[in-house]
């Protein structure tokens, strides 16, 4: 029995990958139906950056300092632009709500009846969603970055750039598994939108979406020598906005950079396991309570 399974494991992994690829291609086709929504939406998302430029120009003109927590005015603008890139990887609009809806309206049943894994399917759908989004969004992104090129320091070296790419890919996976796990709460509660809202709020404050996490380095926690920034570093949130941007700007370097990548990868594993566990327990509960 185990011999047979062992012999076909390689083949079945390959089959699984092929199935996943087909799901991906079909999801891309489906997303392309809605490509029009993306183009306008992307440009709209850049509008707040104008406010940020004005705000930080005002902040810096009110003080004699040339930098705040190591960020010059130009650094701050570059930081905001880079977090938009990170968010383009880590944000998962509609993922948690969509999972909760599929549980509520019963369409999740399909994944109990058919030999296909729901989480893998969601991942394929999300990769497709992102790929189509990038294909459309790359033009407005390029335009805005070109117009704002004056704010950026010189581009990083190859090793830093590689770390940036890895941190971005991990931020996609982290964002995906965190929100998917959140959506699975739908197995226990009918409505997850208020939970998602709370998550979004914490996420907004602690991810670095609002300001660079370095600003929290001066905020004491009551523990000797431990700042709020040190605490946040051990939480998953900053890896979905702050961390990749800070890598690009050279704010996190050397050994600390490596350790941060390890923490980020660790959170990806934890959230992926949480997502699995929630699915497993959730479907058991769903089956017991009526379906």
């Amino acid at each position: 029995m185990s011999g047979v399974a062992g012999g076909t494991r390689g083949g079945s992994a390959l089959r699984g990958l092929r199935t996943w690829w087909t799901m991906l291609v079909i999801c891309i086709e489906e997303r392309l139906v809605y490509r029009g929504d993306f183009a306008l939406g992307t440009l709209m998302r850049f509008l707040p950056i104008v406010t940020q430029i004005f705000l930080w120009t005002a902040v810096f003109s009110a003080t004699s300092r040339t930098d705040i927590a190591g960020y010059s005015r130009n650094d701050i603008v570059a930081y905001y632009l880079l977090t938009m890139v990170t968010r383009a990887f880590s944000s998962m609009p509609g993922l948690a709500g969509g999972i909760a809806r599929s549980i509520r309206d019963g369409s999740v049943k399909k994944f109990l009846v058919q030999p296909v894994d729901y989480v893998s399917f969601l991942l394929a759908a999300r990769v497709a969603h992102k790929l189509v989004y990038y294909a459309v969004a790359i033009a407005p992104f390029a335009l805005v970055f070109f117009l704002c090129r004056g704010y950026f320091p010189p581009p990083p070296d190859a090793a830093t750039f590689a770390a940036f790419v890895v941190s971005l890919l991990l931020s996609f996976l982290l964002g995906f598994f965190m929100e998917a796990a959140l959506g699975m709460i739908g197995f226990w509660f009918m409505e997850v939108s208020s939970i998602v809202f709370g998550y979004m709020l914490v996420q907004y404050l602690l991810s670095g979406h609002m300001f660079p996490i370095d600003l929290l380095a001066g905020v004491p926690t009551g523990l000797a020598g431990v700042s709020l920034a040190d605490v946040v570093r051990w939480l998953p949130f900053e890896y979905t906005a702050y961390f990749p941007a800070a890598v690009w700007l050279g704010k996190v370097r050397g050994e600390r950079l490596l350790w941060s990548l390890v923490i980020e990868a660790g959170w990806v594993v934890v959230m992926a396991l949480a997502c699995r566990a929630a699915w497993w327990r959730g479907t058991r509960r769903y089956s017991a309570f009526g379906g």
Partner: protein
């Protein structure tokens, strides 16, 4: 209890269910604002027995109809058999597997079509959903294409498979749902009200289709329906479920024999009969112009018919069984009356 298990079932059981029961806890949602607020702190719940210990054996190649009033437990049984829900008590084996363990080996061998809960992708042509099924069910390309073309041609929907599903009519969508469900050649098919909301032509096409495919493949099919047309067209075996229990399990022909005491005799007369003539028939009857419909006990038909034929002004006579709808409705009702009497006795 009328329990007739056909030989096929005993020889090669594909579905074997013993003492299967399912209880749900439902929370009462009281009316009114004050009561709603109170229910935030203290919710009253009760246990509903959707299925109360059902035994059923279905053999390979059988086409079984599950009949019963709304809420009788038909869909609960289908959900249990397809592994969506777990039972409170009892056992079930489908194709040798416990359905709610949801092994991939099992899931590759059956299909479930539940009304309009679509397996098809709304914004894409059905051909794309079929392709995904090919991968999910691990079908070789040549076999996939052959089966897809066969099914699509049987239903005459080839021109529809390249159109986005959202642009199709309800009937067209249902046909493509069936194609999607049958692509991987399931050995067992569960259908939950497959013809609900469809016009007569679409219903007929689907009947023909299901009959053909079922015979070709010797597929085991269990369907729930409220349309007796589905049952007459497709099923030899009928299982009547009311209030979570099997009330009748046997052939369609026998249900008529066993549960009807009368036949319907229709007389076409020269002219509408007057009151005196109506009374002369001596049976309860319904008059529609020159047509008189009589209910006559089956045992007396042979005696009565010659007299009726000899009577003056009779142009035509036909003798029919009581319509199946009426028999089944009677079965449902008699069960409810029984329940009420038992309840009153307590």
């Amino acid at each position: 209890m009328h329990n007739i298990v056909p030989d096929a079932a005993a020889a090669d059981p594909v579905i074997r269910v013993e003492g299967l029961a399912k209880e749900y806890r439902v929370f009462d949602k009281p009316e009114g604002l004050a009561a709603s607020i109170r229910s935030l702190f203290h919710r009253t719940s009760r246990v509903v027995e959707a299925l109360k210990g059902v035994d059923l054996t279905v053999g390979r190649g059988e086409f079984v109809a599950l009949l019963g009033p709304n809420g009788a437990g038909k869909t609960t049984l289908l959900k249990l058999l397809s592994g969506i829900i777990t039972p409170s008590r009892g056992t079930a084996r489908v194709l040798g597997h416990v359905p709610w363990e949801r092994a991939d080996d099992f899931r590759r061998r059956f299909a479930l079509v539940m009304g309009q809960r679509n397996q098809l992708w709304w914004d894409l042509p059905a051909a794309e959903s079929f392709r995904l099924h090919q991968e999910i069910y691990r079908m070789e390309p040549a076999r996939f294409e052959r089966i897809r073309d066969e099914l699509v041609d049987l239903l005459d929907v080839r021109r529809l498979i390249l159109q986005p599903v959202r642009e199709l009519s309800l009937g067209e969508r249902m046909k493509l749902e069936l194609v999607a469900a049958l692509l991987h050649e399931p050995e067992v098919l569960f259908l939950d009200e497959p013809t609900i909301g469809l016009d007569v032509v679409a219903q007929h096409t689907i009947h023909e289709f299901l009959r053909t495919v079922q015979r070709q493949r010797r597929m085991t099919v269990v369907l729930t329906t409220h349309y007796m047309k589905d049952v007459v067209a497709l099923c030899e075996r009928v299982v009547v479920i009311t209030r979570g229990q099997i009330l009748y399990d046997g052939s369609l022909a026998e249900i008529v024999d066993r549960f009807t005491t009368h036949k319907i005799v229709t007389l076409d007369l020269d002219e509408a009969p007057d009151q005196r003539r109506i009374e002369a028939f001596g049976f309860p009857c319904e008059v529609r112009g020159p047509r008189v419909i009589l209910r006559i006990e089956r045992g007396r038909i042979a005696d009565v018919l010659p007299q009726l034929l000899r009577a003056e002004g009779v142009r035509d006579v036909s003798v029919e069984d009581v319509p199946l709808e009426e028999i089944v409705a009677g079965l449902f009702r008699s069960d409810r009356r029984q329940a009420e009497t038992v309840g009153a006795a307590r």
